[in-house]
């Protein structure tokens, strides 16, 4: 009797969470998919997908989101990996450095945008530094950046913000790493670079993949710094379009359907990344075990 009870205990404990997910995750998301594929009268129609794809802003938003994700992740990963390798050593003041490195991570996105706006505005501190150091004579109009330059701006700002968190994930991975592998490699005459490439990287692969995919998912959903720095439409992103249809266009049925359709597109892109992540991480796990 007691055994039978015990068998059901875990399900009993899980029920609240599962019910919550049924009501507040599965049901709305399912309805979002249905909603994006139906017309106002409820009949099946791909009208809103066609309208989204036809929008001139869509291709720009799609391109920017993908470019932003690829460039920022690549940039952030390389710098963060270097930083993590460096900080994994024992040296005086490492804790203080870690403490400082955490600051940008703690700054909420809305504040990040304002922080950089105080820097990039015409009389902001960046021009002020450059003039004080006699690098420039007249202020540079950073905020008028267009196209790819503006995108690069946003990538740099994003990098400043998330670099520490990527670094900490990698550092955690490095600290769990058995030092003996590394030492063995060095004893057998490998250079530091070889040890990093052939020993540390493969063992760290699951951590690296985790860090990279998580960053990618966040990067695909970027919107706020773009709107706060440049306003709507200068550097459009997929989620920026959702914010646009919510914030600027009054909440009409039409704009609701548009934002719903955009959200479905974002979901599909993110979920494809997740599946990709699961596939690759399963593969890498097997490789490491061998």
């Amino acid at each position: 009797m007691k055994n039978k009870f015990r068998k059901w205990t875990p399900y009993f404990l899980l029920t609240p969470a599962l019910l919550y997910y049924l009501f507040f995750w599965i049901r709305p998301v399912f309805n979002a998919f249905i909603g994006s594929m139906t017309d106002f009268d409820g009949s099946f129609s791909l009208r809103f997908f066609i309208e989204v794809f036809k929008e001139p802003m869509f291709s720009a938003a799609f391109r920017n989101s993908v470019l932003f994700a690829l460039i920022s992740v690549l940039l952030q990963f390389s710098i963060a990996f270097m930083m993590a390798l460096l900080l994994n050593k024992k040296f005086k003041g490492v804790n203080l450095l870690l403490f400082i490195a955490l600051i940008p991570m703690a700054v909420p996105p809305a504040a990040v945008a304002i922080l950089w706006k105080t820097g990039f505005s015409t009389f902001g501190w960046l021009n002020n530094i450059l003039i004080t150091l006699h690098i420039i004579k007249t202020p540079i109009l950073w905020m008028t950046a267009q196209g790819f330059n503006a995108l690069l701006f946003l990538i740099l700002i994003d990098t400043w913000t998330v670099l520490p968190s990527v670094m900490i994930i990698l550092l955690a991975g490095l600290q769990n790493l058995n030092k003996e592998y590394e030492e063995a490699g060095l004893i057998f005459g490998a250079t530091k670079w070889q040890v990093t490439k052939d020993i540390i990287m493969p063992i760290l692969k699951p951590t690296i993949i985790t860090a990279v995919i998580l960053r990618m998912i966040a990067a695909i959903q970027v919107w706020m710094i773009s709107v706060m720095m440049f306003g709507y439409g200068r550097v459009p992103f997929l989620v920026e379009r959702i914010a646009y249809y919510t914030d600027v266009v009054p909440m009409l049925d039409e704009s609701y359907k548009m934002s719903l359709t955009y959200s479905v597109i974002v979901t599909v892109i993110v979920m494809v990344s997740v599946v990709l992540y699961l596939q690759v991480s399963k593969k890498s796990k097997k490789e490491v075990e061998i």
């Binding site: 400082i100 809305a110 304002i114 695909i220 959903q221 706020m224 979920m271 399963k282």
Partner: protein, 346 residues
Amino acid sequence: MNQKSLIAKTVFYLFIATMIIAILVPFFLFLSTSVYSEYEVYEFPRKFIPRTSFDLKIDWVDDKYDFSVFSREMDDYELLIQTDNLDKLRRFLKRNLSVQKTNEEINRDFSVSKNGEPLYLTYKKDLLYNYKTFFSITNKAGKAVANSVIAAGWTILISLSFGSLAGYAIARYKFKGREQLSLILLVVRMFPAVAVAIPMLVYLLKMNFDNTMIGLAIVYSVGNIALTAWITSSIFSGINVELEEASYVFGATKLQTFTKITLPLAVPGLIACSMYAFLAAWNDSITALILSNNNPTLSLVIYKAIGSSSAIQLSAAGAVILIMPALVFTFIIKNYINQMWGEVKL
């Protein structure tokens, strides 16, 4: 060899120095901006340390006060305004220099210059002027801080109660579907918030929960229940089962064991979970924009302030208020970051 290690050391410390400068300089200059007066914002090029006071020169010319401020850049007094209107002077001092004086004080101090000699005096700047003004001109700011805290509170409550039960089950029991459950939790954590928030709007409208903090918390909790389950499961599996068994041996019931043994040991982890939940609610703006546009959270108010006001120093003051709790909590939970991102077991 020695020279080589010296170069390596130099490169190493240069790298660290660059990193520290790249993080701290923007942060410090942003903090300075939040205490700048309007006058300092347009002083250019300016000193990086904000002023704490202004050196003033008052001349009584043609029955008017010639009001000048010492400009550190020009190394001379700069004439800013000519008037005999005390109200005008008071407003000018307040708006442009963040100096708060009453008409009587101004009259008493300035009238000394009427004897023909230029009057030199120093007025203290109100360093918190931008912070006070942010709350008085953005009429929703005070309410917004309360909203953010309430939304965070609900998120903590929902995530902890639903998530820790699931986490306990995952840690302590072997059951069918355990692997699949971990997978589901992972997918939920990675799920874009907008994809839940937009369709949820329809339900919240039906339940009259639109523009409420409970409505927001319901959406924030979706990802946070999974995260809480994740963290608590690793905490509960780290708590020695033998301790619980010992408690049974001494005749304690299951509930007593849980509340007296297991729960106290799990408290630090549960606090960490609460802080994550807090940060998720506190930092978000897109969900608040979609679901609670008319009753904004602080993050949303700051997002909107940048569009409406040109006064960057006021937005900066608002942003500093937004940063403070986030900064404190991030530093407290930094030891759990490992658990949050690392060790993704499938």
